[in-house]
């Protein structure tokens, strides 16, 4: 009877054995706990040692490892590395990942100080967290070593500013690689029918046309709104928020200013845009926007320049040559788009910093950047390329002057280390307003409360 014998030991030997067993288990538990402590100290120990990013490493492994995203913006960097490695006769490796995974991979590598990557491509809203955590190399000594004062003055000022920590005034931690900023995309033919032969200057003008197009019974919607919760809806709302004079924070981040009359006007207008958008906008991301525009079912939207080449591609687009590009319309203040550059940086723990610097310097040089523009259609960051006559002569680069102006007038997302979480929280309430679950007023006051508590936790708001 096994069950019986388990509960009642039949003789002394068994009792002794059970006692032994118990001791073994206890010892094992103690040992395991000890091992955990030791390993944790070991694993957590390395970040304690401050590593200065200032010294220029003399030795390297002779191999450049690049982490980049597997979209056109990131593929350009991968191709550049391939060419550079062939030219210099060095080894290289490219680690590609989709947008969200790239962030996870980079944070893991940087926070564990494993020094896996020598060059990372990062989206500019991640920059503050990376720089503030001292995860990136200060590039100034490397510029000094080649007798350059810093980033070339050929880069647009706004592009240079987001590569510095603190913003615009601090040390250089990255190169501006891809010059993204939002633009207002509109159907020239449809807007012309209502008397607009150029991009509408104000949101009022733009909305009056959108409304007429939506009501015209042609099945075309006046606007298509990117309303998906999180990053998408926030990216869509910010340019409108700014045009209406709103700001999320006071300039030193000590006050949250989401619940203001300007913000309410902006959000109410945002809801009006939703009503001239196709149903289901609460779940649209950039791809749905592109689909509605490509099918000719929507007359305008705010989107990133990466989609320009798709709109002008006859195999995918029903609206080739009909899309106009304009700056973000104005309301209470001048319209401003969100800047969304891809930056190239060198992790503080890279084992190959000098070669990494030389490569990124070459990749963002005038000559290479022009090649990348021609090969991948990725937007540049240098004024000389935005104004290059041989490029401007081609119709597919007709949006360059507008984009350059958009970058010059752009606003960066708040330069705070906890932006991801703040954006997510703000995005949830915006999404609730767009979905009609909350009134604009309630959404803003809830967002104000929740963002304030996040900012307190991070020590920005006292």
């Amino acid at each position: 009877m096994p069950t019986f014998s388990r509960r009642y030991p039949q003789n002394m030997t068994q009792m002794v054995q059970e006692e032994k067993m118990r001791r073994i288990v206890q010892t094992a538990a103690v040992l395991a706990f000890g091992a955990v402590i030791t390993l944790s100290v070991f694993a957590g120990g390395s970040p304690e040692k401050p590593k200065s990013g200032n010294e220029v490493a003399q030795t390297g492994t002779g191999k450049i490892v690049l982490a980049t995203n597997n979209a056109p913006e990131g593929k350009g960097a991968a191709e550049a590395l391939k060419q550079y490695a062939a030219m210099k006769g060095i080894k290289f490796e490219v680690v590609e990942a989709p947008y969200n995974n790239l962030y996870e991979k980079e944070v893991l590598d940087l926070s564990q100080r494993s020094g896996l990557y020598d060059v990372i491509m990062l989206d500019d809203p991640w920059f503050t967290q990376f720089a503030e955590s001292k995860w990136l190399s200060n590039l100034t000594p490397y510029f000094t070593a080649i007798n350059e004062g810093g980033l070339s003055s050929d880069f647009i000022d706004k592009s240079t500013a987001i590569c510095k920590y603190p913003y615009a005034t601090g040390l250089i931690y990255a190169f501006p690689a891809v010059g993204n900023a939002q633009m207002f995309f509109y159907r020239k033919d449809l807007f012309a029918q209502y008397g607009f032969n150029s991009a509408p200057k104000t949101w009022d003008d733009a909305y009056s046309v959108m409304k007429k197009i939506s009501d015209s019974g042609t099945g075309v919607y006046g606007y298509v709104l990117r309303g998906q919760q999180g990053n998408p809806v926030v990216a869509q709302f910010m340019p409108i928020f700014w045009s209406f004079g709103g700001r999320m924070f006071s300039s030193d981040f000590s006050k949250v200013t989401i619940d203001t009359p300007q913000a309410l006007n902006a959000l109410n207008f945002f809801i009006k845009l939703r009503d001239v958008s196709p149903p289901g906008a609460a779940s649209f991301n950039a791809q749905q926007l592109a689909t509605y525009m490509l099918q000719g079912q929507a007359a305008s939207t705010i989107n990133w320049p990466a989609f320009v080449s798709t709109f002008e591609d006859p195999t995918q687009s029903k609206v080739v040559g009909k899309i106009g590009y304009g700056p973000i319309p104005s309301a209470a203040t001048v319209g401003s788009s969100e800047i969304g550059h891809w930056l190239a940086a060198i992790p503080a723990d890279s084992k190959n910093k000098q070669q990494a610097f030389d490569f990124v310097h070459w990749m963002t040089s005038q000559e290479t950047q022009k090649k990348l523009v021609e090969q991948f259609g990725t937007p540049p960051t240098r004024k000389s390329i935005f104004t290059d006559p041989s490029l401007l002569a081609q119709p597919k680069y007709s949006y360059f002057p507008v984009l350059m102006q958009a970058i010059e007038n752009s606003t960066p997302r708040p330069r705070i280390a906890n932006w991801n979480q703040v954006e997510n929280t703000f995005g949830i309430y915006l999404s609730k307003a767009v979905a009609g679950d909350m009134s604009s007023k309630d959404a803003l006051s809830s967002a104000q409360n929740d963002v304030t508590s996040l900012m307190k936790k991070a020590g920005y708001v006292k």
């Binding site: 955990v36 967290q129 503030e132 919760q229 609460a282 009609g436 991070a458």
Partner: protein, 297 residues
């Protein structure tokens, strides 16, 4: 130590030597991460310096005052409750029907299993197309009976239920499979006795089939409950937790906290709550299974 003594030592401790590889694996893969997670759940993270410090129970306190945490708990509860109950009802009905003999039964049984065989990501993408507002097949079918413009997973009011429908579509076959196997293993003499005694079909089901099937039912429910409590892939692809946070479940929120907000401490604390719930449910079912004498020796 000479060879003879070594051999006797080896003889006496053979059982420990043989167990050692397993124990080492267990320590490395289960015990170490578990203890590490316990420690991590008490650490607070400072995003501005990327450093952790001991924060006592602050992660747990913050969690219980966080409205998004409770929203995720509520969504997980609704999702799990509704999906498992409906899957069980449908699965049992299908198992009973397909346990009878009729022409084409085997073909139908094989077809029934198809949804379960698909990777969840594929199911999610298929249903994103099925649910498309303007050219999805679901709205076309509804249009035939005069209902237009359903937004399915794009509207906060219907999003969670749209996801539950997909879950039911994919996992009812699993319930059906386990319950059918249970039905086939039932002895035939109680049925013969019942028919001799003049019992009707409902009485046979109520007093013979259901009690005899209880072990299979418990196992099927247990596996599905544990699976739905940690649902991630389907929701991640179809809605990403939106719109308006209507479909954010615990797994999704834990993922966001750990990988988007880089706050591993807070994320492990939440995982522990989910673990405790899962273990509690698991233990309840296992004790019922013991009572059903499934585990008797």
């Amino acid at each position: 130590m000479n060879i003879k003594r070594l051999a006797t030592w080896g003889d006496r401790n053979l059982k420990y030597l043989l167990l050692a590889p397993t124990i080492v694996l267990l320590l490395v893969l289960t015990v170490y991460p578990l203890f590490f997670a316990i420690i991590a759940s008490f650490e607070t993270f400072n995003i501005r310096t990327a450093t952790y410090s001991f924060g006592g129970v602050s992660n747990f306190v913050n969690m219980f005052t966080d409205p998004f945490f409770w929203n995720a708990m509520k969504n997980t509860g609704i999702y799990t409750g509704v999906a498992v109950v409906v899957e069980f009802g449908l699965g049992l009905a299908l198992a009973l029907v397909l346990n009878e003999r009729f022409a084409g039964r085997d073909v139908f049984r094989s077809l029934m299993l198809a949804p379960m065989m698909l990777p969840p990501i594929v199911v999610a993408v298929i249903f994103k197309i099925v649910f498309m507002q303007n050219f999805g097949i679901s709205n076309w079918l509804l249009g035939l009976i005069g209902i237009h413009g359903m937004l399915w997973e794009s509207a906060s009011r219907t999003a969670l239920f749209s996801l539950i429908i997909v879950d039911i579509w994919e996992w009812t076959p699993f319930m059906f499979l386990i319950l059918l196997a249970g039905l086939q293993a039932l002895p035939s003499d109680p049925y013969e006795a019942a028919i001799v005694d003049g019992a009707g079909p409902f009485q046979v089901f109520r007093h013979i089939t259901f009690p005899l099937l209880t072990p299979s039912i418990l196992i099927a429910l247990l596996l599905r409950l544990m699976d739905t409590l940690r649902i991630f892939d389907l929701i991640f692809v179809m809605t990403g937790g939106g719109p308006a946070n209507a479909t954010e479940t615990m797994s999704l929120y834990v993922y966001q906290t750990a990988f988007r907000f880089s706050n591993v401490g807070s994320a492990t604390a939440m995982s522990f709550v989910l673990l405790i719930i899962t273990v509690a449910i698991g233990n309840f079912f296992v004790s019922r299974l013991r009572a059903e004498e499934v585990f008797t020796q």
